[in-house]
């Protein structure tokens, strides 16, 4: 009797599936904010298109941006909340006396993030078609590249937040909701990077989302997929993922030294 890594990752995903299966409000909540955001930005776009040639020419760019921003935000929440659920339910100690390894917990949280984000964003993306005659799916394959990069970076942020919560306790849990917003101004979600002051642009270029949103505008306004932005986002994501994984595993060791795995919970 010995479980495989895939079985253990699957067991954790199943644990979260059970949680959602038993709670319709949780599922509705996942789709609620992306849909509200899409509606607000869709209406703003319609209003601005009447007085701005740029907005008129880039029909749907704001809706696409808000949907993809939510991918980043939900990707982050998907990982952080999966971890917080274990903290809230005082389950971490149980989990780590099973054969589950920390890296498998990370993998399970990333899978949960993918599922939660897709369930949350899909209704908003579909509703944008009848409401604003805008289908983000017309982007084709580039959409997958944008989605994957943002989801991955969101997951990396969530892993960073999880590390801080493990180290400093549930007092740090609000970081799951607020930390990602610190990156919004320099991720250039709704405007080109040229809007930013020169001195902060290098910092913005160091973030994968900036490349994704620049790439999104290139795809929607110029009709081209900018491979250099895609590769830059991918490369940066690999670096940040390695950093966040090392941070999480290091904090896990600190938690084992300080006895933090048992003394968690509400």
């Amino acid at each position: 009797m010995k479980s495989t890594p895939a079985q253990r990752i699957g067991a954790l995903v199943l644990r979260h599936y059970y949680l959602f299966r038993g709670s319709w409000p949780r599922i509705l909540e996942m789709a609620y904010w992306p849909t509200v955001n899409m509606l607000v930005w869709g209406l703003v776009s319609q209003f601005l298109a009447e007085s701005s040639n740029w907005v008129a020419r880039s029909g749907g760019v704001f809706i696409a941006a808000v949907l993809l921003w939510d991918v980043l935000f939900r990707g982050n929440l998907g990982v952080a909340l999966a971890f917080l659920e274990e903290m809230w339910s005082r389950n971490l100690g149980q989990l780590f006396v099973s054969p589950l390894r920390p890296i498998e917990l990370v993998a399970a949280m990333l899978v949960m993030s993918l599922l939660r984000t897709t369930v949350g964003i899909l209704p908003a993306a579909l509703l944008a078609i009848p409401f604003f005659d805008f289908s983000i799916f017309k982007l084709g394959w580039p959409l997958l590249a944008f989605y994957a990069n943002l989801l991955f970076f969101g997951g990396v942020m969530g892993l960073g937040v999880s590390s801080l919560v493990l180290r400093f306790g549930l007092g740090a849990e609000s970081l799951a909701w607020v930390l990602i917003f610190a990156l919004a101004p320099i991720s250039c979600v709704y405007y080109p990077i040229s809007v930013l002051p020169d001195w902060i642009q290098p910092l913005a270029w160091a973030l994968p989302p900036t490349h994704v949103f620049e790439g999104l505008r290139a795809a929607m306004m110029d009709g081209r997929f900018d491979t250099s932005h895609f590769l830059a986002a991918l490369g940066l994501n690999v670096l940040y993922a390695a950093g966040a994984t090392i941070l999480f595993l290091s904090v896990f060791q600190v938690a084992r030294k300080k006895g933090l795995l048992l003394n968690v919970g509400e």
């Binding site: 009797m1 479980s3 079985q7 253990r8 644990r15 989990l95 780590f96 006895g259 048992l262």
Partner: protein
């Protein structure tokens, strides 16, 4: 023919939290198939010792071997052969009992999880509660579910922290009987941290009394009672706890 190593072998274990010596140079072993109890007041180091044995806590000094493996360096090699129950952890309240047990059965890679869960639920008297959210159970029912989870993988070593703390006397007695039967049948070793002296007298082959992180007394319950000239283990415990000279 080579003899099996003891289920637990602890040498010179030390764990400090700041200036506090939670565990202070303790050594002991749990033989295969044996049951050892850790006794001590609050803060004596029982839970810290169990946490180290489970690999949840890294000691500052000393060595810990569990089922022949170095628990500090290679805990992954034995985690599928041990299990535990503790009031310091819980199972997710929103999941049903069956869902919680299914998740852990999969983590341990059980081949026939459904049958095992139903069998344990029957054994522990929670079969009627399998499809209820765990959070809606009474504390006694939750303790029994936690014990069912602890036996899911039929462990070679079971570590129990206050296993009957929240149970009424009748249920507690029933659980002790069940643990006795399970150990006799499985040949597994047990390490129990407990405040309940009657429980220790009944379940444990030997007991270690901890005080301020140190082992101050050790022996079979009977030998401890005889050595201190007391009527039962509870009187021995109170005597040891209240004797200032017994600190190391």
């Amino acid at each position: 023919m080579t003899s099996l190593p003891p289920a637990v072998q602890v040498q010179n274990l030390v764990k400090c939290f700041g200036a506090t010596h939670a565990v202070d140079h303790i050594s002991f072993s749990v033989p295969n198939g044996g049951c050892v109890a850790l006794l001590g007041g609050n803060g004596a180091g029982k839970t810290t010792t169990l946490s180290i044995l489970l690999g949840l806590l890294v000691p500052d000094e000393g060595t810990v071997e569990v089922l022949g493996e170095d628990m500090i360096a290679h805990r992954w090699r034995v985690l599928n052969r041990i299990n535990f129950s503790s009031p310091y952890v819980d199972l997710p309240h929103r999941l049903t009992v069956r869902e919680n047990l299914t998740v852990y059965a999969r983590l341990f890679g059980l081949a026939d999880a459904k049958a095992r869960i139903e069998s344990l639920a029957l054994d522990f008297g929670v079969a009627d509660h399998l499809d209820k959210p765990t959070g809606r159970l009474s504390s006694g029912q939750r303790t029994r579910v936690a014990l069912a989870k602890a036996l899911l993988n039929d462990p070679d070593l079971l570590l129990l922290d206050e296993p009957t703390a929240s149970l009424d006397p009748d249920t507690a007695d029933w659980v002790r009987t069940h643990l006795e039967t399970w150990r006799a049948k499985s040949g597994a070793a047990m390490l129990i941290a407990s405040h309940n002296m009657a429980e220790v007298e009944r379940l444990a082959d030997s007991a270690l009394i901890l005080k301020q992180g140190k082992i101050v007394e050790a022996g079979t319950p009977k030998s401890l009672i005889e050595r201190h000239g007391r009527a039962n283990l509870e009187e021995v415990f109170l005597h040891v706890m209240r004797s200032p000279e017994l600190t190391s």
